[in-house]
């Protein structure tokens, strides 16, 4: 009799342990799923400076251009241009701004990386290295799909990276894990109205 009651106790213990573990696993998976659910990026004021990990960004103007813009010949005729003031917040010269802005719509599905042009002195250097603490005005130029109508206003997502003192592969410092920091909306001027042709 005592043996049976001992067995019952043990079974009860096993069952309780099993149920507890199952609940813990389910709660853990549920939390993980909730955690990976992308949150909508915060809405930012386009008239103010936006701080990302590497850059202090101030959007200046958005417009579409036809033919040529800032010394760049456009293959398919049209491009979307975003002008912005960029200040490098890191300790070293960088040109890691290729994915800083992402237009939400208004481009073809592939969303190629923009061509970035420095607007100082009209020399038009492409992919300029921006030095720490020195602000520069640059233009981000995305080609538009053929026959696409330019939107009247457009939302841009601003991305931010996080500093890691050592990466997992080589132990080198760097900026990783790009995440949206927010989004802002700018009116898009048609060709000829955005300050340049």
């Amino acid at each position: 009799m005592t043996e049976f009651s001992g067995l019952g106790q043990r079974l009860k213990g096993w069952l309780l342990g099993g149920v507890g573990a199952a609940i813990a696993v389910i709660v853990g998976i549920g939390l993980a799923i909730l955690g990976t659910k992308p949150k909508p990026p915060a809405t930012l004021d386009a008239r103010q400076s936006i701080a990302t990990g590497q850059w202090l960004v101030r959007p200046l103007a958005a417009y579409t251009a036809a033919g040529a813009v800032h010394g760049i010949q456009l293959k398919d005729g049209r491009a979307l241009v975003l002008e912005a003031q960029l200040v490098n917040r890191t300790a070293e010269t960088s040109s890691d701004y290729g994915t800083l802005f992402k237009p939400e719509t208004g481009l073809d599905g592939k969303r190629p990386r923009p061509t970035v042009v420095l607007l100082r002195d009209g020399v038009g250097g492409r992919s300029p290295g921006l030095h720490p603490g020195l602000g520069e005005r640059v233009a981000f130029i995305w080609p538009m799909a053929k026959g696409q109508e330019p939107p009247a206003s457009l939302a841009f997502v601003v991305n931010s990276k996080r500093y890691k003192a050592m990466d997992n592969l080589k132990g080198l410092p760097g900026w990783f894990n790009e995440q949206p920091a927010g989004r802002f909306t700018l009116a898009v001027a048609p060709p000829g109205r955005g300050g340049v042709d």
Partner: protein, 189 residues
């Protein structure tokens, strides 16, 4: 008592593991470039490269040749033109990392706006004289050093770190900054 002992042993083991992890050198510490220090005006010899900085000049604007005419380049900071001589020591060397390092640790790469005034390839027995152009923040002008290496992580290579302690100074002791420096004439480089 046995349980307590177990916890103590576990704690000691965890501390030991953390200590090993924290004190272990990273791969980059073991293999990265080895600094070779020197001063402005003297020839600094690294493993593959010897270099000497002759002159440092500061300017607010830079006049450079552009499409057969002179063009003025402006900056929010300062332009620095470093005149130097470099020579490969054992074999032909390609030098990619040329940086101006300010006293607070800011690292300015060679400017890509001004035309290149120094080749990237160097030969043995053939000294190349040229100039490097940087765009820096004004507070990075004094107490800076010039770092030259083939690459930041060229394994077991040396990096020349030349202290720029003989920069031109104004009467107040700050860096002497001219309004416009003309590089379109070729200069002495």
């Amino acid at each position: 008592m046995r349980v307590l002992m177990g916890v103590v042993v576990l704690g000691v083991a965890a501390l030991l593991c953390y200590g090993l992890q924290a004190s272990k050198p990273r791969p980059v510490d073991l293999a990265r470039t080895v600094p070779v220090a020197g001063r402005q005006g003297e020839t600094v010899r690294g493993r593959f490269l010897a270099g000497r900085v002759d002159k440092v000049e500061f300017a607010r604007n830079l006049k450079v040749p552009f499409d057969r005419e002179a063009r003025t380049l402006t900056t929010d900071g300062l332009w620095v033109v470093v005149t130097l001589e470099l020579e490969a020591m054992r074999q032909p060397v390609v030098l990619y990392r040329r940086t101006w390092n300010g006293p607070s640790g800011l690292t300015f790469h060679e400017s890509d706006r001004a035309p290149a005034g120094l080749p990237t390839g160097f030969m043995v027995g053939q000294a190349s004289r040229g100039r490097l152009v940087f765009e820096i923040r004004p507070e990075a002008a004094s107490g800076a050093s010039l770092h030259l290496s083939r690459d930041w992580i060229s394994r077991f290579d040396s990096e020349l770190r030349i202290d720029l302690d003989a920069i031109p100074r104004d009467p107040a002791g700050g860096p002497d900054v001219v309004d416009t420096l003309d590089l379109s004439l070729g200069g002495d480089a």
